[in-house]
Amino acid sequence: MTEDYREMWTHLGLDLDAHDALLGVLGGAYQDIFLSQKNRPEGMKYFDFVMSEVHGLRIKELLDEKKAGRKIVGSYCVFVPEEIVLAAGATLVGLCSGADFATPEVEKLLPRNTCALIKSSFGFKLGKVCPYLESADMIVGENTCDGKKKAYESLGHLVKNLYVMDLPQVKSDQGRALLKSEYQRFRTAMEALTGAAVTSESLKQAIQTVNAKRAAIHRLSILRKADPAPISGLDALLANQVFFYDNPARFTDSVNQICDELEKRIAEKKGVFPAGTPRILVSGCPQAVPNWKLPFIVETSGAVIVGEESCVGERGARNLTDASGETVDEMMDAIVDRYYQVDCAIFTPNPQRLEHIQEMVATYRADGVIHYGLQFCQPYLMESFPIEKALEEKKIPTLRIETDYSMEDVGQLKTRIEAFIEQLR
């Protein structure tokens, strides 16, 4: 990293020592987990570069956008519609929350039994190590699980400009109406932030940009159907993670390039693991950067992950937004329609999620499902029981795991995952 990044970080108010420590750990983990993989697609070099510059070049780009008058918006949930952010002339970045940081400080504000994701979002703020958070002109929270919605009340005191979006908990006419009115309110808030109106042109353009990004990810997902798998679950997860903070157009191109390469691999029957390697679908809580714990264990234990039923994955990227509307209202409706389908566990009941898991098992030819639940995440942990039961009734082997970001249970997890893989062979 060059000195001018240090200046940039200082300027953003980061704690340089803590930040150095974070980057050190991150770099080491990346080396051990990603770069040590065999038979990686060439196209992953782009993502290696993005990761090596995750706090460098990309931040510089965002700061340059800011200098040019653009606003940066940070979000913690896939319910925050990127289309509206872009249409108002701002840039959306996902705030990752995938590692423990400054835990003792966090536990002064949050109960210990809060999920790792929420704790991490506070840790990055309190530890002053996230340049995305510090660059953002607005942070958008959302009333999803109880943990998050109460945590935002405290986060509001820590960040400059927190906007909280309300979300329905039930898929009903009222629920849909609430989502619609909240998206309208959000649009007004975005227009106020940027000073630019959302027009039918800008909204159409934004929908197309985001759709293209999602379509590229869909293309990547479908290629994972092949046996041997042309790309590791780790690398595919990384692409899904980078989805949240890269420049959308560049991201789309890079994913499409990888897909071209993967198509060739598939034609040559080349893969990252031998044909016949047990195939696993991961389902559950989002895995944010740099939370690579589960796929690392799975893929060093003799199996390959072929899909993520997760917000960092298919739940987040499934469905395009209908771009055929002509007026802002029509397109706003299309946006509501698209997001209304997200089958997050905060909804009750939430039967679509089970259907999607089964559909994904069939599409990606998975031999079994690992349900990934973060400790203390009530919505997903609660759903894991009926899901396990329903899948097993369909003779789909399922392993329910509950973990966090710490490394202390890695040995135990490895045993359980290896035993599960033995079951699938």
Binding site: E408, G411, Q412, R416, A419, E422, Q423
Partner: protein, 252 residues
Amino acid sequence: MGKRFAGIDIGSRTIELVVVDTSGKIVDSLQTDTGFDPMTAARKLIHGMDYDRIMATGYGRNLFEISFDTLTVTEIKAHATGARTFFPDAHTVLDIGGQDSKAISLFETGRVKKFEMNDRCAAGTGKFLEIMAKTLGFDIESFGREALLSEKDIAISSMCTVFAESEVTSLIAGGKNRREIARGLHTSVIQRAAGMINRVSSTGDIVFTGGVAKNPCMRQLLAETLGRNVLTPEDPQLVGALGAALLAMEIP
């Protein structure tokens, strides 16, 4: 001499080595304490042992794999395989070892159908019983027998080793009968194990393996609590190593 296959089970408390001949009969078996340096202990155990192939299981299997370049299998599959050799119709296996416990259900063919493991802490494991025996002043070999001499249970509410220990200490200070406390402790471990078993299998005999299966109170309470038959092989702590040895033999 025909071929010989070895299995080594590297647990947190002890390491077992079993060697079988081509008929699957145990021809050699050894046991040692794991100590603080499991690989040195393992090296000593296999030193001078004669076998054609070895497979490792237990929590130290991956270390062994790296140090000795061998094959590995999880404790789950090893115990399932080992239990089946003693009881060919077994559908349910409960293994309670020093550091973890697991319940396994099997298909007709002997393949693993489903399993449950205890979570990170020592609650519900051999280690828990060991610490409690010590707190009560019993030695671990006779702990189960002593507990069985009591008709009554004193309920222990904590499953956490640390809290249970102080609970026991205050019960002793309160003049309660040590055997009744002992029985209560056994009951609490069994209740936890019963919960795991019920999640993987609801009927049929249970094969009880691992060092804790030697404890007669555990066997009796398990059978009573679940109303199911409990079967225990002669040397239950060898089952994992035996399973690994048999799996080493199966490899073409």
